[in-house]
């Protein structure tokens, strides 16, 4: 009854617009901008078909959204502010203003009549970053359907994004085959700085904090600085509540495989008497026990997490001050069978049908384990600059401090009783990072819009225990300028340039004296891109960009047995900057009705790609001979395609398919690059209720994920051959139920529904165990809202 049938909607909504929607070409150059996006149902987060968008100042520009909620306003004039009135048969109409500074993308969420919510939620796409790069996001109901998963697991549902795992409890995102130091994660706008170089170091972020998680693909150093080589992950918390009242939600998520429970709650308030002031508190508790493969339990594979965040903000139209604090604490058990003494042990583990250490279910986390704390304190402020309503710029200053502590415990305590009694971690890292960013988005100036900014970072790392990376102090400074130019209605160009400097000083004991060598790196990056609205139904994004990163401290200074990896890794202190150049082209086509496709093709060229090259001779140690790896630089190329297509073949059924292909070559040795995700394709089918009566927001879907065997691996660089191809079946279903006025969202999901036996090439534990079996998840979300204006039913 709430989601419309086309015919009803057409009658009810469109009486005004048929008359006025005739397009009129505006002859002035400045009036060639578009604003496009999607209109959503606030409750279901589903696209709302056939809403009307009335432009008050220029009624002839009014349009209505299509069946998928897509709309596009065109012929908008630069620098002008328009008032949009959105109307829909079953929704409250509301108005919002947009200021045109370039091509805008903006989504609207319409509340239902029956919900008695007096405020209107307007949600505009963050303008962060470049407009010409391919991006994919998880938000709204999709985010809700993935709640309880780790950041890596969530993102791996997007084409071109996979995950690098160390068993089931440690996962990190991989974009176009690149991870760790080659992608950048921005947690609420702040570069996440921990020990991200380690493949078994998962990002210390609570996804429950996010309203939207976005992957921006391609080299993106200009806006974000070093490390954004293959892409950027943006984890964005929602804006503070801007209407008087208290609101929030409680979310529960439970999983069958490891009997994991998640509780997350958020509450926010805005004051009627002081409407600029708002606050929000959020917290998450998570506990999971041992995971189970189809045939056996994995001893000591549980995890625990407790996280919270607090935000307070004072937001006026021309000024804003916001503080944010978050803390992330986790204990992760490392499957005990992965802790091996030497290569013989690794082969024994690989060849045995079951792990040597049998286990049942338990929530206990023992050695080996990781204990991690991550703190973030952020203060953000902006002021509007410039005179005149339409030409306002924004000057923003952000300061953040992060502290990350990582404790790693070996499987066994020291033999020495007095040492063992201390129960110290075998490895302890502490890293503190201060970052400052000053950015000025200048208002529209003629056809131009853009921003300039500078950023600085100061960082200090210390360790105790076993040596793997040394202590160091790191200072960086960067300066960037990005401009966007509107050529005509259909074409926007974007260009940017950035300079960076990094000063790294290492402190290390060597032959009983402390040495403190200094490494300095500097680099210029650039980007050039375009957005081309080829036709009404098709647009093209092209972006060419460069990015760089300084060699990681592990790549410069590691020297020794990599804990658990059964390999001796040796750094090289003479490594230089790794540079990457990427070209990424995205073509999006939709027929405004029931077909939509998006294809991204990318090509990436590396100059000085750093990797661990196997040495001819194994290294002899008291534990036996180990394969030895030396960090070297080479040239490399990556090319690939990400594709998504969906076809709504009846009102309720949609089928979709997503696929990713990647070819990664080491052109220096004319061989493949190791640890690259295999080709994959995932067709799916989804049913969504037609919105009548009690069946509002009911959905069900299934997908079949086929991952090919990665046979493109370099010669002589792995202990065992890559695992076979595998197929997983996943399914999900959900609905919204109403108890009186109280809505409850319920979702159920199943991963590896058929309990398939498989191992994934990108999971380091493939040497030791099968991947986890069937996992059924149940999710419940209870939103609440107390608004002083909504007293009547």
């Amino acid at each position: 009854m709430f989601v419309l049938r086309k015919a009803i909607a057409a009658c009810a909504c469109l009486f005004v617009f048929t008359a006025v929607s005739a397009q009129r070409t505006d002859s002035t150059a400045a009036c060639r901008y578009t604003c496009s996006g999607t209109v959503y149902d606030l409750d279901s987060k589903a696209p709302l078909p056939l809403a009307t968008l009335l432009v008050k100042e220029a009624p002839e520009k009014s349009v209505y959204a299509d069946e998928h909620g897509h709309y596009q306003l065109s012929g908008l004039c630069a620098g002008k502010t328009y008032t949009l009135v959105l109307r829909h048969l079953y929704c409250e109409s509301f108005s919002d203003s947009i200021t045109i500074t370039g091509t805008l993308q903006r989504d609207f969420y319409l509340p239902h009549f029956d919900h008695q919510i007096s405020e209107v939620v307007v949600h505009a796409h963050s303008s962060e970053g470049l407009a010409t790069q391919a991006r994919q996001e998880i938000s709204g109901s999709e985010l809700q359907q993935k709640s309880g998963q780790s950041l890596g697991e969530m993102l791996s549902s997007k084409s071109g994004v996979t995950m690098l795992q160390t068993g089931s409890s440690v996962s990190k995102p991989v974009i176009h085959g690149m991870h760790s130091n080659r992608i950048l994660i921005l947690n609420n706008g702040i570069r996440q700085e921990g020990q991200q170089w380690g493949s078994e170091h998962a990002p210390e972020i609570d996804p429950f904090i996010a309203e939207r998680i976005t992957v921006v693909k391609g080299a993106n150093a200009v806006r974000y600085g070093s490390d954004a080589i293959a892409g950027v992950v943006l984890v964005e918390a929602p804006d503070l509540r801007d209407s008087a009242g208290i609101g929030g939600a409680v979310q529960l998520a439970g999983f069958s495989n490891n009997r994991e429970g998640n509780v997350s709650a958020v509450i926010g308030q805005n004051f009627r008497k002081l409407p600029a002031l708002s606050w929000r508190a959020q917290g998450t508790l998570k506990q999971g026990g041992n995971y189970r493969t189809p045939n056996y339990w994995l001893n000591n594979s549980g995890r625990r997490e407790n996280n919270f965040s607090l935000t307070a903000g004072y937001n006026k139209e021309n000024f804003s001050l916001e503080t944010f604090y978050s803390q992330f604490n986790t204990s992760v058990g490392i499957f005990s069978g992965s802790h091996i003494g030497n290569l013989t042990d690794l082969y024994n583990a690989f060849n045995s049908a079951q792990p040597a250490e049998q286990a049942g279910f338990s929530y206990t986390i023992g050695r080996p384990n990781q204990e991690i704390t991550h703190e973030l304190l952020k203060v953000k402020s902006f002021v509007r600059t410039g005179k005149g309503e339409y030409r306002k710029g924004k000057l923003q200053l952000v300061y953040a401090r992060q502290y990350n502590m990582r404790l790693e415990y070996d499987k066994h305590k020291p033999l020495n009783d007095s040492l063992a009694a201390l129960n110290l971690p075998e490895l302890k890292y502490e890293i503190t990072t201060h970052t400052t960013d000053l950015t000025w988005d200048h208002g529209a100036v003629g056809r131009f819009s853009g921003s300039v900014g500078m950023s600085g970072m100061f960082q200090q790392n210390t360790y105790e225990g076993r040596y793997f990376i040394p202590n160091y102090r790191n200072k960086t400074a960067g300066l960037f300028w990005i401009e966007r130019m509107r050529i005509d209605t259909a074409l926007t160009l974007e260009a940017g340039v950035r300079g960076d400097y990094k000063h790294l000083q290492v402190f290390k004991w060597e032959n009983n004296v402390v040495i403190s060598p200094v490494h300095q790196f500097s680099n210029i990056s650039g980007t050039l891109g375009l957005v081309w609205q080829v036709r009404d139904h098709m647009h093209v994004l092209v972006n060419a960009g460069s990015a760089w990163r300084a060699p990681g401290v592990n790549e410069l200074y590691s020297d020794g047995l990599h804990h658990g990896a059964a390999a001796i890794e040796t750094g090289d202190r003479t490594l230089t900057t790794e540079k990457a150049y990427s070209l990424i082209t995205t073509v999006n086509w939709h027929n405004h009705k029931n077909l939509e496709t998006e294809i991204s093709a990318y090509y990436m060229l590396f100059d000085g790609f750093i990797y661990a090259q196997p040495e001819a001779e194994p290294a002899l140690t008291i534990r036996g001979a180990f394969p030895a790896f030396q960090y070297v630089q080479t040239d490399a190329t990556l090319k690939g395609v990400d594709a998504n297509a969906s076809w709504r073949f009846t009102k309720q059924f949609t089928c979709n398919v997503k696929a990713s292909l990647l070819r990664a070559r080491n052109t220096g040795t004319n061989d493949w690059l190791q640890l690259m995700p295999a080709d994959r394709i995932e067709p799916g089918l989804r049913w969504k209720s037609d919105g009548k009566n009690h069946f509002r927001n009911w959905y069900a879907g299934t997908s079949v994920q086929f991952v090919n065997k990665q046979w493109r691996v370099p010669y002589n660089s792995d202990f065992v051959p890559p695992p076979a191809a595998y197929t997983l079946v996943n399914a999900e279903a959900g609905c919204s139920l109403f108890f009186g006025k109280q809505e409850i969202e319920i979702g159920i999901s199943a991963t590896n529904l058929l309990n398939a036996l498989y191992r994934d090439y990108m999971d380091r534990f493939r040497y030791y165990t099968d991947a986890t079996g069937r996992n059924i998840g149940l999710r419940i979300k209870v939103p609440f809202n107390v608004s002083p204006n909504s007293k009547q039913n």
């Binding site: 003494g341 042990d345 066994h412 020495n416 402390v514 020794g560 290294a619 008291i622 534990r623």
Partner: protein, 197 residues
């Protein structure tokens, strides 16, 4: 860029913005307590075994017939072993072999074999010979029921003159020691060249 946007002159006076600027100034100038000038000395470097010595005593004469050493002074990684002896024993004799493990990264050197002995119920040495005519038996026992060998004290009987290798393996088998080599993890795995002459 003709129509350059003009700044609102009072924006630096906005109180909140000034607060943030002030904080930055303070954090920029203040010597941060997080910062350590130089790294602290390694406090709890895990136990490193740098050295294994096999001291062979002729059981008939009770005199030391030879000491055979493997030593990797900087532990795993870095430089390789600086001493890696060939085991040379006379043919058709019986030797009592004492096994000594040392951590020579500290001064004085730390005896790891004493630690192994203290945890004898969780540790066991295994010996494999290839080409060299040697048979080995255990002279020491732990306190498991039934008692199992440890291998810090062993008896080696040599046969005819021959050449080959002797492999010494130490397994850490907490709670799973059963006298076989299968369970647990490998702490030591060294293969000495061996000549029986």
């Amino acid at each position: 860029m003709k129509n350059k946007t003009t700044f609102n002159k009072s924006f630096f006076l906005k109180p909140g913005f000034a607060i943030v600027l002030g904080m930055l100034a303070i954090s920029g100038c203040k010597k941060d307590d997080d910062i350590v000038e130089t790294p602290p000395p390694v406090q709890n470097e895990g136990e490193v075994i740098t050295t294994m010595r096999l001291i062979a005593t002729d059981s008939a004469t009770n005199t030391v017939a030879g000491t055979f050493t493997f030593r990797d002074p900087d532990g795993s990684g870095g430089s390789g072993p600086d001493i890696f002896d060939t085991i040379r024993l006379a043919a058709n004799k019986t030797y009592n072999v004492q096994l000594v493990l040392l951590n020579e990264t500290v001064t004085p050197a730390d005896s790891i074999s004493n630690e192994v002995l203290a945890e004898a119920n969780d540790h066991m040495f295994f010996f494999h010979y290839s080409g060299a005519a040697i048979t080995q038996s255990y002279l020491d026992q732990d306190t498991n029921t039934p008692p199992l060998g440890i291998g810090l004290q062993t008896k080696w009987k040599t046969g005819a003159a021959s050449a080959g290798t002797s492999q010494v393996i130490l397994k850490h088998q907490p709670g799973v020691k059963d006298g076989t080599e299968t369970p647990g993890e490998t702490d030591i795995d060294i293969t000495f060249q061996t000549v029986i002459q």
